[in-house]
Amino acid sequence: MAGVLVFAEQRDNKLRKPSLEAISEGRRQADKLGVELTVLLVGDDLSGLDSQTTALGADKILLVKDARLKLYAAEAWTLAVETAARTAQPGLVLMASSAMGRDLAARVAARLRTGLASDCTAISIENGAVSIRRPVYSGKAIATVVFAAGAPVMATLRPNVFPVLSQPRPGKGAAAPLEVAFEDRHFRCRVTSIEAEKGATQDVAEADIVVSGGRAMKGPENFSYIKSLADALGGAVGASRAAVDAGWIDHQHQVGQTGKVVSPTLYIACGISGAIQHLAGMSSSKVIVAINKDADAPIFKLADYGIVGDLYEAIPKMVDEIRKLKAG
């Protein structure tokens, strides 16, 4: 098979974690196939990123640098990936299933008239044939997908699933600029600014630890309990659809079939009964803790550890215990 191409997303000259995961998976697949890993970087300031990418195992690095590439413009980025794909002629193109990756991958796949598997959780290649596992029905079922011969296979990788290589064999790391013929028409739709959500430090879809609140929060003010536990653990705040629909917290935080699908190391569900809708969004979490007054709540069937009790009593105690643990 031809080589592996990874598009690595950077924002403000920082590679984002899901992209480190994508580069690592690219390295693993390239090693198995005995082919080269090429990493594509796009932006206005890429200084220092090539050495970081080399350390993760890139053999070749394509740098698309242009003053107009400070903020995301879908068609310009599409042209960059298209040009890189036509240059490197990869058999496999990977990127993170992030807000940018999802948007970009779909446009590139349509441009290249090739197959794209979204939000993948495992990739295997045998005798040159790629098969990919990906959750469907928000994780209620797992599909294995295969690809028509001919064009490169494209995949976006679900964050927090593919481990970042801890001791990668450094790649050859030959960095070279890639000339892309940008014109004004490639900047028709373009980001003009980014507004960060107030107080939010981590996105639920990317966090290692997620603490979620549901109907039992009874109002927006009680999400301070969820936040205190999330803060103690260094995690992100999530919510059920009931809590979001009631207007207690922004939709950004919703976990479930019509919200975000998350796979953190630890998921703590507080006052969430566990409707199918919600379970679909978090069932692939590695360890699940449920706190609920109702011993019959369906969430307990999925929990590794459960506490039957009042969350307003349990959470402050849990925060104390965690602080003690972290101090000790």
């Binding site: 794209l116 959750p135 469907v136 079922a141 003009t192 590794d304 039957v308």
Partner: protein, 262 residues
């Protein structure tokens, strides 16, 4: 202003998934079909724009078997003006690019100023068709939109990203994929439901769209499902009752010592 909304009929989000004996498809016999929830935001936004401008046409388009006409009818009851139902046995098992190809063939001749779709269709969870449609229509796009304003030169949109949102500007025509938060979709009124019965739904097959059957459906699919399986069953967990203080202490200890996650 001409506005096209691409919609999809999908299984209700509370559906229990059962896999058929073929091991690669879902048993559809007990499924309740609904309009994809994200498409409702798309339809609502289209209707709001038409109402605010006091002129225009909202056309809803879908690809699907005979049952999908119900989804179009629901959108017409919300207030869309007419429907286009793209249906052909050759469309079955289309992948995302196939669906976008069918939709593009139908939408291109309409000459839309704005094209809406949901940010993804629940079930297949691909998040691809709306953006692919933009590429095939050679239009710019903004995906996962939570706020939209038409401006003198085009539009300005909020696009949801990790930990915040981007402000995106684009000229028209443009493809927008709708995210929850964009608006509150209206319920169809009784009057709307009655009126919808008289609104036209045009049916088009591959030949009417000028599509080569090898481009779409199973034959044209670049991505195919080879296997579908249920996730592995979960081992029963340890549930602590009665003394909350003890329970909390024990769970924190287990998270630290046994699960090693904190």
């Amino acid at each position: 202003m001409k506005i096209v909304v691409a919609v999809k009929q999908v299984p209700d989000t509370e559906t229990k998934v059962t896999i058929r004996p073929d091991g690669r498809s879902v048993d559809e016999s007990s499924i309740t079909w609904i309009v994809n929830p994200y498409d409702e935001f798309a339809v609502e936004e289209a209707l709001k724009i038409k109402e605010a401008r006091g002129e225009g046409e909202v056309v809803v388009v879908t690809v699907g078997p005979a049952r999908a006409a119900t989804a179009l009818r629901t959108c017409l009851a919300m207030g869309a003006d007419r429907g286009v139902h793209l249906s052909d046995p050759a469309f079955e098992n289309s992948d995302s690019l196939g669906l976008a190809t069918i939709l593009a063939a139908a939408i291109k001749p309409i000459g839309a100023d704005l094209v809406f779709a949901g940010q993804y269709a629940v079930g297949t969870d691909n998040r691809q068709v709306g953006v692919m449609l933009a590429e095939l229509l050679e239009m710019p796009h903004v995906s996962v939109v939570t706020k939209l304003e038409l401006t003198a030169g085009g539009l300005s949109a909020h696009r949801e990203i990790e930990g915040g949102h981007e402000i995106v500007e684009s000229p028209l025509p443009c493809v927008i994929t709708a995210q929850k938060g964009l608006n509150e979709p209206r319920y169809a009124s009784l009057k709307g439901i009655m009126a919808a019965k008289k609104k036209p739904i045009e049916e088009k097959d591959a030949a009417a769209l000028g599509l080569d059957k090898g481009q779409v459906g199973e034959a044209g699919a670049k991505v195919k499902i080879s296997r579908l399986e249920m996730p592995p069953p979960k081992q029963p967990g340890r549930i602590f009752k009665d003394d909350v203080e003890m329970a909390v202490r024990e769970v924190v200890r287990l998270l630290h010592e046994e699960a090693k996650v904190i």
